[in-house]
Assembly symmetry: C2
Homo-oligomer: 258 residues x 2
């Protein structure tokens, strides 16, 4: 079985190829149907869900490693990635031992002193992707890979819930200084969609009219002639980001708080 071979390979040669004691965990944010979502996976023989993660090759840049891991998982490259925190509690080792249990359940032998069971300090990244461009698919080590609404998450392994929470907090803080809208929405989107995105991230309602005025006031959007028809009410305009102006505005930081 291909999966078994991959796992054996990781167990046997991981220590040689990867930096020890160091891992990466990615919170992949997507936006769909008015919900902010995170891409989670479930390792084989585990009941809890986990963040996509991986290790860093000995000569690999940390940020590039995160890119690679994301590419392997979503098929996307050129992903917007941001490291937001290091999780370095020594208690993470206790949790890692739990992980060992379900690797053994797969029948693959795992030595008690395997590098995989050691202590890992993990660098937390968040990624922003266009939901519609990703087709979640489990890899060799997992049997499920799905989007979950950020506000109704399943049970997560280890400290992944904390990582997710901190990622959302970072996202909130950086809403006015990073091109968050651009990376989470498709090329063309409507104003109500953009507003809903903001509402999900901030977790509070915003006034429709004031939101529109403020966003348009930044001068970072281009309005298309087309509208989005087919929903039993007035068709909203489609917008796109004017990347040049967007990045210019972000350098200053968009004004005010939400």
């Amino acid at each position: 079985m291909r999966a078994d071979r991959e796992l054996k390979n990781l167990i046997q040669k991981g220590q040689r190829d990867f930096l020890s004691n160091l891992s990466i965990d990615c919170v992949i944010f997507g936006f769909h149907a008015g919900q902010l979502k995170a891409l989670l996976l479930r390792y084989k023989h585990s009941r809890e869900w986990a963040l996509p993660g991986g290790f860093i090759y000995k000569k690999e840049d940390v940020n590039q490693a995160a890119n690679r891991i994301l590419r392997e998982r979503t098929g996307l490259s050129e992903i917007f990635l941001q490291q937001f925190r290091v999780f370095g509690s020594p208690r993470r080792i206790d949790h890692a031992r739990e992980m060992g249990k379900f690797i053994r359940r797969s029948g693959i032998p795992l030595a008690k002193n395997s590098w995989l069971l050691g202590r890992f300090i993990t660098v937390g990244f968040y990624a922003l992707v266009d939901f519609s461009a990703v087709s979640p698919a489990p890899d060799h080590f997992s049997d499920a890979c799905e989007w979950y609404d950020m506000h109704s998450l399943p049970a997560l392994m280890m400290d992944h819930t904390e990582i997710l929470t901190k990622a959302l907090a970072a996202l909130r803080l950086q809403l006015n200084s990073q091109p968050i809208g651009y990376n989470l929405l498709p090329e063309k989107f409507t104003m109500p969609e953009l507003q809903k995105l903001y509402e999900c991230i901030l977790y509070k309602r915003l006034d429709r009219r004031n939101f529109q005025r403020r966003i348009l006031g930044y001068g970072i959007l281009r309005r298309h002639k087309e509208t989005k028809k087919g929903m039993g009410h007035k068709a909203p305009y489609l917008y796109s980001f004017d990347l040049r102006k967007y990045h210019l505005a972000l350098q200053e930081g968009l004004t005010g708080g939400w």
Copy 2:
């Protein structure tokens, strides 16, 4: 010589005691004489300056390791510490080799494959301290330890200039959400001092009157009856932070940008 013994010890036993490939670098900010300063040291037999740094014991929490390193360096505990970024370029290894040169200059043998010459991913922390409470003193490995004005830094080893720059940027971003004033100033301070601190961090002038109104508007300061005399002009009032209200206000984030 004590210093030699310490260094030999680090070279020989470091690999056993510390997590490999992982280090911590601290940007220690202080404020004095109207200047924002960083505490730098110079390793023996080196001409370039460096950030205080260290390694993480195998069972030690990363944040606690940073605290320990800071304590060893400044004698202070309970320091305000904030991790702000991971520096993980594989090119850091080239620089590390330079470091090897001046270790060898000290006459201590250093094997080519020593763990100290390997690749290090470093977690960047910034620390905020009360300048007057620190007496900089070189340790066993360094022959100088001094404060430098953030805006006239000496040549720094490796990528430490970048780390310093990123730390300042982080400080700027968090000015309204972290108790930065509290940790950089002495117990009692004057309004002009606080303003100068803000100006140093933001690197721009602020209007004296508007600054005062805004800060006082937050309701986070207590004004003392005493004033600070002896400077050939009107004596400014002394203030202290009302910690309760300060932290309460920070949770919301102080309004607006600067």
